[in-house]
């Protein structure tokens, strides 16, 4: 095997997993032993192994969201041992490997916990609130065609790089799950600052922040109290500076709003 640690011994673990039949049913933690887990497996591959065992026994496998398994689509979630995406910093659950756990460990696995993210089933939650916030203004209003040549808008590299840093948000929801208030400020601020920094975003700069924040409130996310848990748990390192920028943008927009 090509893993770095070919001699590492397989591990036996105890999983405590949240099971919930559907949105309207009560859920509960259920304990599952898993055996022979290779340290080179990803966390989700470990879940696959458990699910195959459950299936062979005729039991319902555990539903969890996942897709690209490369850390970029933002579909995977899981609250592992009390932390979104588990113990490794800057890592999505799909990129978390079992070498970070020890033989004999008990691992607790829960869904994202937030009123705005209701549970569909087991570990699968409804994050459509994030889409609705983006629909409220997370775009530059340009139709296809009829735009200037790409190099007609020079953008200083330092600004382009900062805008890029904000643009890398994968929309997974870990920030909300990490926050004791279930606030979506980091998520919203990432898009607001990306577009506020770029010349393309100037025309709608004020209405964008007003509308996105309004939608965030409608969706039932909590208030931000600056604990910084969101940025600490963000798998792609979205910085708290974005929240500062969102506040400035919001105050400026409200103070000078054309829609008063």
């Amino acid at each position: 095997m090509a893993g770095s640690n070919p001699n590492a011994k397989p591990m036996d673990l105890t999983l405590k997993v949240w099971r919930q039949k559907d949105r309207n049913s009560a859920g509960q933690m259920v304990t599952y032993p898993v055996k022979g887990i290779s340290p080179d497996m990803s966390f989700l591959e470990m879940m696959d192994v458990l699910n195959e065992d459950l299936l062979r026994k005729g039991e319902d496998p555990i539903a969890f969201d996942h897709d690209c398994r490369e850390g970029i689509c933002g579909m995977c979630s899981l609250y592992i041992n009390g932390r979104p995406h588990g113990p490794e910093r800057g890592t999505t659950t799909c990129q978390l490997h079992m070498r970070h756990f020890k033989d004999g460990d008990t691992i607790t696995i829960e869904p994202w916990r937030a009123a705005a993210f209701p549970v569909h089933k087991d570990l699968v939650v409804d994050r459509s609130a994030f889409d609705r916030i983006q629909q409220a203004g997370g775009y530059v209003s340009v139709n296809t065609g009829g735009v200037p040549d790409a190099n007609a808008i020079p953008i200083p590299k330092s600004i382009a790089d900062k805008a890029f840093d904000a643009a890398t948000c994968i929309g997974c929801g870990a920030c909300v799950a990490a926050c004791k208030n279930a606030s979506a400020m980091l998520f919203v601020s990432a898009k607001v600052s990306q577009l506020a920094m770029l010349p393309q975003g100037q025309t709608e700069r004020k209405t964008r922040v007003e509308n996105m924040v309004a939608q965030m409130d409608i969706e039932g996310f909590g208030s931000c109290t600056n604990t910084g848990a969101c940025a600490a748990e963000c798998p792609v390192g979205i910085s708290l500076e974005n929240i500062d920028m969102l506040r400035r943008e919001f105050i400026y927009a409200k103070a000078t709003s054309e829609s008063l």
Binding site: D40, D48, E52, D67, S141, T144, P156
Partner: protein, 644 residues
């Protein structure tokens, strides 16, 4: 059946402009009377749905993920090609066209590829206007890099996350139309059948993946932008959910499937590490700009390395074989993907592979780090290096990456004409789901280009031409054709749920993947393909006898979802084998061992195989019927592809 490619007349460079003038238009006030269904929200689907909405059509868009932003386009790393010639290095629309035709080993349509190169420049403009943060130079203008199969720098990029940034751009345009009410979005909804009325595509049947509810949606046209079928191999760089079901069920309703054997094996992926492996991770081709590919010069050194008697850093410079630089001095490490993959397989077959399994080669950045410094390399590839380290627990700044080819992209797909319409009137296919632009091998950074070209700049013109001839009348979803399609979907689901056998869906999927990789992977031969055909049939029979699907339809049922997809892969795999058997030549990603030059390069047979193989469904287990679209080359000369 005669395949009408609908390629406009006139000189190559004028065809698209002429066609845009010749197509019928729908009056702006009448566009709201037409409904369009778009399945899939990756680059092609999201850009098409947004553009249709902007034009005024009513759009319904569907994706199986929880949000349109998750589509697998998001995982594309390296970049997007465009003939901007911003680098003043001799690029042009014709050169991009030529590189793409040649890179595809002369198995793509000239007119489609030329149009692709033409609109490539508009794509970059569009994305920048949306706020996509492409990499820039210190002067504030856009940066470029090189990709395989090209000798100019025409690839635009956003670190190693170009697909993500382009998709989020298209997603933002889509969101704007959703907010305006022009697009209605259906996430977590999977298409399970195509509905035809009077020989035309008039709707789809879907399953709500949360409730299991089977629903019908009616429209005047249906666009499938559902991606490729690489997951037929089980292990690939595709996302776990990527599947062929929408395209396959359209095939079973009469749409032709073209060149299914043209699959791309990407040369630079992280090697397999165990039986539990669920997917393979790509390391972007852009790494070959600075990384040098090598293996030990002799089998003996490779053996000592694999046994752990020596480490990679003990191997002296003169004992390393930079085989791509040696064999292809002109292109070096930047040869096209099929050439790089095949050569990796060759050196590993010789016993010179590295890693415990011997199924890996090195991709070494030591020279680049010495030349440019570690910060410069980190700035270009930082996130890729991190990803590599997370997966392998090895630091690629200190020792070379180990890489091996893996299934990545499928050039084959639904047959479409110049308008991207399948042979089924009103049914379109865009992006990876169609076969049209990449021939037998896709060049790096061309998938993003094609997805966005189809969605932003081709379909918005061509779909109007069809709709303009359609009456406004809508087909109600209680029409017998919808009822029948729903019944078909329900009966498949019931069958899957009632078998209650002993083997899991994944078990079958892995077995299929093994057959496909073994006999229909990087190298194929007639004997092996015959074996594969029999084995697939056997496996398929066993699937329908012994698969275990638990639960019920009326719930979020991950096993049932997968079972539907794998059932279709089990049929599609056989068609791929049929196509590979039929094509008695080697070209691009299709390498038949019987047909090679003395230097082990692909040996094409232009006399007999310069055609698109479009297959017609005749029933599961029956032989499909082959329809040929002859490829005519008026602007390029067919030559043996050389990258030496």
């Amino acid at each position: 059946m005669i395949l009408e490619s609908q390629i406009p007349g006139g000189p190559l460079a004028e065809k698209w402009d002429k066609h845009k003038f010749d197509v019928k238009l729908v009056n702006p006030a009448n566009k709201r009377k037409y409904d369009i269904i778009v399945v899939g929200t990756g680059l092609a689907g999201a850009s098409a749905a947004a553009s249709f909405g902007e034009l005024g059509y009513n759009v319904k868009a569907f994706c199986f993920q929880d949000s349109p932003r998750r589509a697998h386009s998001i995982a594309a790393q390296g970049g997007i090609n465009a003939a901007k010639n911003y680098q003043n290095d001799g690029d042009s629309v014709f050169r991009l066209f030529y590189d793409t035709i040649k890179g595809g080993d002369y198995r793509a349509r000239e007119a489609n590829v030329y149009r692709l190169a033409q609109v490539s420049v508009n794509i970059i403009d569009q994305c920048v206007a949306q706020g996509v943060p492409f990499a820039r130079e210190y002067g504030g203008l856009l940066a470029n890099r090189s990709f395989g199969g090209a000798q100019v720098s025409r690839t635009f990029y956003a670190r190693g996350q170009t697909g993500q940034q382009l998709l989020l751009g298209a997603y933002s345009a889509l969101n704007r139309q959703i907010a305006y009410g022009k697009v209605k979005m259906y996430p977590r909804t999977e298409m399970l059948d195509l509905v035809m009325v009077d020989g035309k595509a008039r709707g789809i049947v879907v399953r709500n993946l949360i409730t299991g509810k089977i629903e019908s949606h009616s429209a005047h046209a249906v666009v499938l932008a559902t991606g490729g079928y690489g997951n037929v191999f089980y292990l690939s760089t595709n996302a776990m959910g990527s599947n062929a079901t929408a395209a396959w069920r359209a095939y079973k309703k009469g749409a032709l499937f073209a060149n299914p054997c043209f699959t791309q094996i990407h040369p630079t992926c992280i090697p397999v590490s165990g039986d539990y492996q669920s997917k393979l991770t790509l390391m972007s081709e852009s790494l070959r700009n600075d990384g040098r590919v090598w293996v030990p010069k002799t089998v003996e050194i490779a053996q000592r390395l694999r046994k752990g008697e020596i480490t990679v850093n003990d191997i002296k410079e003169e004992d390393r074989d930079y085989y791509l630089e040696r064999k292809y001095p002109a292109f070096g490490n930047l040869v096209p993907r099929d050439v790089a993959s095949r050569n990796a397989k060759l050196v590993c077959d010789e016993g010179r592979g590295v890693g415990a399994s011997g199924l890996a080669v090195y991709l070494d950045f030591a020279d680049a780090i010495r030349r440019d410094g570690q910060p410069a390399i980190a700035a270009k590839y930082g996130n890729l290096f991190e990803m590599y380290q997370k997966i392998t627990d090895e630091n690629p700044y200190e020792r070379p990456m180990r890489i091996y080819p893996a299934v990545h992209y499928t050039m084959g797909g639904l047959w479409v004409d110049y308008n991207l319409m399948t042979n089924v009137p009103g049914l379109y296919a865009a992006g990876e789901a169609n076969f049209s632009d990449h021939g037998a091998n896709r060049l790096g950074a061309s998938a993003l280009m094609q997805g966005l070209a189809d969605g932003y700049f081709v379909l918005p013109y061509t779909i109007g031409d069809y709709l303009a001839k359609m009456p406004y009348d809508k087909v109600p979803v209680d029409h017998p054709a919808f009822v029948e399609a729903e019944q078909n979907v329900i009966s498949i689901n019931n069958k899957l749920l009632s078998i209650n056998g002993n083997r899991t869906v994944d078990d079958f999927h892995k077995a299929l993947g093994h057959i496909m990789w073994e006999y229909c992977g990087m190298a194929r031969n007639a004997e092996g393909l015959q074996i594969a055909k029999q084995e697939i049939r056997k496996l398929r029979d066993e699937f329908w006898r012994d698969v275990k699907v638990v639960g019920v339809n009326e719930e979020l049922n991950i096993t049932l979802e997968k079972a539907n997809r794998v059932a279709d892969f089990l049929e599609l795999g056989e068609l791929m084998v049929d196509d590979a058997l039929n094509r008695n030549e080697s070209c691009g990603g299709h390498f038949r061992e019987e047909y090679q030059t003395p230097e082990n390069e692909a040996l094409r047979d232009d006399e007999n195989f310069a055609y698109v193989a479009a297959w017609e469904f005749t029933g599961v287990g029956n032989e499909p019927v082959l329809h040929k679209e002859e490829l005519e080359f008026e602007n390029v000369k067919l030559t043996q592809r050389s990258y030496k």
